[in-house]
Amino acid sequence: MKRLLGTALLATAVVALALAALVWQLNLQGEPELSAPAPTVAAMPDLLARGAYLALAGNCASCHTTRGGIPYAGGRGIDTPFGTVYTSNLTPDAATGIGRWTPAEFWRAMHNGRARDGRLLYPAFPYTSYTEITRTDSDALYAYLQSLPATAQAATPHTLRWPYDTQAALAVWRALYFRPGAPAVDATQSAEWQRGAYLVRGLGHCGACHTARNALGATEDRLNLAGGMIPMQNWYAPSLTSPHEAGMADWPREDIVRLLQTGVAPGGSVLGPMAEVVLKSTQHLSAEDLGAMATYLKALPQATEPHRPIAAVDSRVAARGSQLYERHCAQCHGDQGQGVKNAYPPLAGNRAVTMPQVANLVQTVVNGGYAPATAGNPRPFGMPPFVLVLNDADIAAVLSHIRSAWGNQAGGVTEIEVNRLRAGQGH
């Protein structure tokens, strides 16, 4: 008996060791040889300009800057279901920034998600996407960041819960969900498609929001862009592969470019987290690059949606919703939900209204907001917040109304749904 137990223990230990070795091995996969003599990255003006452009394409400053803080000096908290991760200082300060980093170490962070000191990085830093960018682009980014004014700003320690705060847990996560990648190549597609794929999947890290995450925060089917709730924000990044959500297969290419460049297009405007993306990233990209992204997005395989049962709208709720709409909404969106061209989006036939996920509708009614003020749309129109005017039942009624009027057939929204979506927001 004792011997049997001993054998079992030994076997368990061997298996555990083997698993640990596997995790260790998987975490080191594809890492560059740091001691290899590195080609020096000369800070030529065109290289710096390219690096600056790539930093915009990656929207690096957005996360690596606190509100009102010094650009790229880090410190912004990214809330996750596992705790808060604070972004790092990307300025060339030797003690607190990346001043001592070599181009190879920077590349290892982008490509393999490992810091200069060997620590594994949390995937809130989207190296799961950046791993698809080229070494050349990584070097340009490196050169640009090294050219910024050095700012001494020490890192804020992450406040993650156990066991997520351990390197071991992160190593296991990476063994399960992360493999170093390379630019997507498809010989059957055009050069423009390849460029679009490179931007959307790599620096653009669109999948960080537009792909659903599982319970451990990993994007489920890596970068499938089929839509997902953005963790902790109560915003839904709609599917880019569904004709019922934000799939763009049928959109004219120039409309997609216009949306990413100006924040507004005939088919809708951007709000919430996507307004920030347009404001700080995509509006700065060249028309060619935006066109390439549009080509890639148009070519994404479109999902065939299963028919979803539609929640019926109670007639009293519908009547109340209709009254509220008349009083609060019709002034801008029109009594037939027709909207006003170039100012207020139509609600009739608008996929942002009819898609199954209602999180964004609740956000928009509660908080209101403006489309981003971009070079192409410098004076956007705004929507008032209704947080002080409408309660959960009112919001449910008015949303049920707009989802079932004027030919919209998306069904009702319940007070409980509204309440649940507002719960995490402090309103």
């Binding site: 029109g334 003020a373 956007p380 129109f381 929507m383 008032p384």
Partner: protein
């Protein structure tokens, strides 16, 4: 019977409404663009009765612009405001500030104060003469002899609800509200005791607006014993004081 008639009329009204798509009342103007603001700040930014959302109409443009930037850049904190101005540019926020600044609307009647005469006297003293012994400058030294503000960066202090004034002075004291460095108002507020704040807000909220409600064009001359204060949000004009 009455109910039936009402229902019939309602149905008829709904039916006609549904039959004709009335275009929304719309004009391509800055007023239309700022309907999101006036939902809380009242029609044309004249404030609402709740006393929490301040009047913005007629305030100096530079002051309004700074407040919009302060909400965006973490120097003032109110989530709803921050989210509203977050995606907007400096230039557009200036246009919005100039629009509300240019609106000339009547002010509400002052709030009668329940405070005793001593408190109001103390409030008046702080507002108009300050307290030299405690290094407290008079409000009027910067906010204008008539306390209607000084264009373009210093706001008036009259026509505001007492609750709002109390909330702001409290926020300055705790550092919750900030301005560009050097943050002169924070320095002043930190010298104020709770009884000072109570006195000065009671007195300010009870004052009627003067005949000319507009911000002054220049700072008043310094009285004997007053010292210049340096403010990041209101750089001294090139000509200085008269």
């Amino acid at each position: 019977m009455k109910t039936t008639l009402r229902l019939f009329l309602l149905a008829a009204w709904l039916a006609t409404g549904a039959a004709q798509a009335k275009p929304p009342v719309f004009e391509d103007s800055i007023a239309q663009r700022t309907l999101a603001c006036t939902a809380c700040h009242g029609r044309e930014g004249r404030a609402t009765a709740d006393g929490y959302y301040p009047r913005i109409a007629g305030k100096p443009a530079g002051y309004l612009h700074h407040q919009l930037l302060n909400f965006r850049d973490n120097r003032r904190h109110y989530g709803l405001m921050t989210q509203m101005v977050d995606p907007l540019s400096d230039a557009y926020l200036m246009e919005i500030a100039q629009y509300f600044s240019g609106l000339d609307l009547p002010y509400p009647a002052p709030q009668p104060s329940q405070a005793g005469a001593d408190v109001l006297r103390r409030g008046q003293q702080l507002a108009t003469r300050g307290d030299a012994a405690r290094q407290l400058p008079a409000c009027a030294q910067c906010h204008g002899a008539a306390l209607t503000g000084v264009a373009p960066n210093i706001p008036g202090l009259l026509g505001l609800p007492r609750d709002y004034l109390n909330a702001q002075l409290g926020a300055w004291r705790t550092g919750q509200r900030r301005a560009h460095a050097p943050d002169c108002m924070a320095a002043v507020a930190q010298l104020l005791r709770p009884e000072d704040i109570n006195a000065v807000t009671n007195w300010l909220a009870a004052q009627a607006l003067p005949a000319d409600t507009h911000p002054a064009g220049t700072l008043p001359a310094l009285a004997g014993g007053e010292r210049e204060i340096s403010c990041g949000s209101a750089p001294a004009p090139a000509g200085g004081r008269p």
